[in-house]
Amino acid sequence: MTPKERENLIKKAWILITYVVLITFALVYLTPFIRSIIASFMNWAQASRYPPEWIPNPFTLENYEKLFRLELFPRWIRNTALYAGLIIAGNILFSTMAGYAFARLRFPGRDAIFSALLSLMMIPMFVTLVPNYIIIYKLGLIDNIFGLALLGLTNVSSIFLMRQYFMSLSNEIFEAARLDGCGPIKSFFFIALPLARPALGAVAVYQFLGSWNAFIGPLIFLRSPENFTLPVGLSFAFQRAMWVEYTPIIAGSIVASAPTIILFLLLNKYLIRGIVITGGKG
C-alpha cells in the first residue's frame, strides 16, 4: 500500500466514523419525535403498552378528531400566535435598540450594566417567577395574553445577539453617517436597523420557537381556558380527574409543532447565522 492510498483509507475511515456518530445522535434525538407521530395514530391503550409497539393497530384518526372537536382549539392557536407575535415584535424593537446602545453609544456604566444583564442569563426563570407574578398581578394583568407577553418583550439573549452583530459592523460606516448628519437616533433608524436584517431574522426565529412552545409561563399567568395558549390548552383539555389522555395531546403537539418545523426548514440559515454572530466575536 502506498502512503497516499493509506492516507485515503484513513480519510475514508474518519468520514465513516463521523457519519456513524452523527446518525446515532440524530436517531437518539429523532426517536421521541417519530414515536410521537406513530403514537398519535394509536389509541391510548396501545400507546401505553409495554414493551412499546411501533405499528398502530388499529390505525385510528380518533386523536385528531378529538382535537378538532375541541371548541377552543382555534382560539388557542390564535392566542399562541398573538403571544408569539407580541414577543417577536417586542424583541425586535427593544432588543435591537438595547443592543445598539450597548454596541455603539458611549455612556457611563455601559459595560457594567451589560455584564449585569449577562449574569441575568444564569438565573433560572423559576427564581424570578414569583416576583414577576406579583408585578403582573398588581398591574391587574393576570389571565391576559398582554400581561404574559409583557414579561418577554425583551430578552437578554436577544440583546446580546444584537449587540454582537452591531459590534461586527464596520465603525467607519457609523462615523460616515455621523459626518453626513446623523445623530445616534437617526443613525439607528437609517443605518443600524436596515443593516441588522440578518440578525433580526435570527432573533425573530428564536423568539418564535421559544414563545410558540412556552408552557410554564402561560400555565401560571393564564387562568381561563379561552385565554390559554396551545400547549397549555392541550394539556388542560385532556387531563382527566385520575389520568391524562396522552394520545390526543401528542396529536395536538404534532399539529402545534407544524409551524415551527416549517419555519425551521425555511429559515434555518438565520438560526445558524445567529449562532455565528454570537460565537464569531465574543
Binding site: R178, L179, L195
Partner: protein
C-alpha cells in the same frame, strides 16, 4: 471654503500621547497632506478636525469658528474613509443623497444635485447599483460624490487610495488632485503614509512622527530641505543614506572621515566633530574606474527598476545605496562613487536636526 487652524492640539489615549502640541494652519483652498508612518498621529489629527475625536488640549478652528465643542454633524466638513464606508443597504443614488436627506433638502433638489455630482464624477450610469456591485475605483468615486454633494467647507481624506490596486491608484492620484485643487479649489486635508502620494498631490506636506510635527513645507522643501533625519529618510525612495563619522580640518580643507573612507567636503561646513552625513542615492556620481576623490567600494548587487537602477555597497554594518547608470553591466565587484558636493546634508547625531544642507 475655509482655512483650518490647529493650536497646541494634544490628544492622549490613556498614557499614549497620540498627538503632541500640534500647531498647523491649512490655508483656504490648500491641499495639505499629513504624512507619516502608521501610529504617527496623522489619522487622529484628521479625526479631531472631523470631530470624531475630541482633543484633550488646544483649539481647532474652521473658518472663524472654534469647533472644539461643535458636533461633527454641524461642522460642514466631509470625509472619505479608507474603506469608503458606503452604506451597503442603499443604492449609489441613496448613498450620495443621504447627507442631503439628513439635512432636510427637499426631494427634487436632492435628485438634481445627486445627478449633477454623479455626472461630474462619471458615475451617472451606476446610480441604481448597490455598493457591492461596484469595483474599488467606482466605490471610491461614490464615496467622493457623497462627500462632495453637500459642498463642504473642508474635505478630509483618510488614506483614500490604499485599498485600490496599483494601476488605478496612480490614475486616481492625479484625478483627485485635479478635481479637488484645480476644479473645485476646496480646502483639503489628506492623510497618507505613502510619500509618493504626498509628493505628487500636496501643495504643502506636514510630516509627523510619534505624535510630533516634524516639518511643514512644499514638496520641494520637504525633499531638498529636510529639517531632520526622520524627514530626510522618510521622504524619498530609496531613503537617504546616513553615515556616522567625524569632521576633520587639514590645511584649510575639510574632510568627512569614517573607518572605511574619507570624503572631501566643501570648506563652508560648520564646525563639528561627531556628525551624520546624508545624501540621496540619486545624488551620487558613479564610475567603474578610480577617479579623483571617488570612494571605492564593493558592489553587492543591483536592483533594476527599469530606468532607475540602485546598487548596494557595504561598509561594515552600513549599507549605502547609490543610483547606478542605466546601462551598467556589472552587478558585483569594485565600484567608485562620490556624492555630489552641493547635495550633501549634515545632521546633529544627538538631536537628528539638520545643521548643513
Amino acid at each position: 471654503m475655509a482655512r483650518v487652524l490647529l493650536k497646541e492640539v494634544t490628544k492622549r489615549f490613556g498614557n499614549l500621547i497620540a498627538v503632541n502640541k500640534l500647531n498647523l494652519e491649512i490655508k483656504d483652498g490648500e491641499f495639505m497632506v499629513l504624512l507619516g508612518p502608521s501610529g504617527c498621529g496623522k489619522s487622529t489629527t484628521l479625526r479631531m478636525i472631523a470631530g470624531l475625536e475630541t482633543p484633550n488640549e488646544g483649539e481647532i478652528w474652521i473658518g472663524d469658528t472654534l469647533v472644539n465643542e461643535i458636533d461633527p454633524t454641524k461642522r460642514n466638513i466631509a470625509m472619505v474613509f479608507q474603506s469608503y464606508a458606503l452604506y451597503p443597504h442603499m443604492t449609489v443614488f441613496g448613498n450620495i443623497e443621504f447627507p442631503l436627506r439628513m439635512s432636510g433638502v427637499p426631494k427634487q433638489e436632492r435628485a438634481k444635485k445627486v445627478k449633477e455630482v454623479a455626472e461630474f464624477l462619471g458615475i451617472a450610469d451606476l446610480l441604481d447599483r448597490k455598493p457591492s456591485q461596484l469595483s474599488g475605483g467606482q466605490q471610491q468615486r461614490v464615496a467622493l460624490a457623497r462627500a462632495l454633494v453637500r459642498e463642504p467647507q473642508v474635505f478630509l481624506l483618510d488614506e483614500p487610495l490604499s485599498n485600490l490596486d496599483a494601476k488605478i491608484r496612480t490614475q486616481m492620484r492625479f484625478e483627485l488632485k485635479k478635481l479637488l485643487s484645480y476644479e473645485l479649489g476646496i480646502t483639503t486635508i489628506y492623510v497618507t503614509h505613502d510619500q509618493v502620494e504626498a509628493m505628487t498631490m500636496a501643495d504643502r506636506i506636514a510630516v509627523m512622527n510619534k505624535g510630533v510635527l516634524q516639518q511643514v513645507g512644499t514638496p520641494d522643501e520637504i525633499f531638498y530641505k529636510p529639517s531632520n533625519t526622520f524627514v530626510a529618510t522618510f521622504v524619498g525612495s530609496p531613503p537617504m543614506n546616513l553615515i556616522k563619522g567625524e569632521i576633520r580640518r587639514k590645511d584649510g580643507e575639510v574632510f568627512f572621515e569614517t573607518e572605511y573612507f574619507t570624503l572631501k567636503l566643501s570648506p563652508d561646513v560648520p564646525e563639528a566633530e561627531e556628525i551624520i552625513l546624508g545624501f540621496r542615492p540619486q545624488h551620487v556620481d558613479v564610475a567603474l574606474e578610480q577617479k579623483d576623490d571617488y570612494i571605492s567600494g564593493k558592489l553587492l548587487g543591483v536592483e533594476k527598476l527599469g530606468v532607475e537602477n540602485y546598487g548596494h555597497i557595504t561598509y561594515g554594518n552600513t549599507d549605502i545605496v547609490v543610483r547606478v547608470p542605466e546601462d551598467i553591466r556589472i552587478s558585483r565587484g569594485e565600484i567608485y562613487w562620490k556624492p555630489q558636493k552641493n547635495r550633501i546634508y549634515l545632521f546633529d547625531p544627538k538631536t537628528g536636526k539638520t545643521i548643513y544642507g
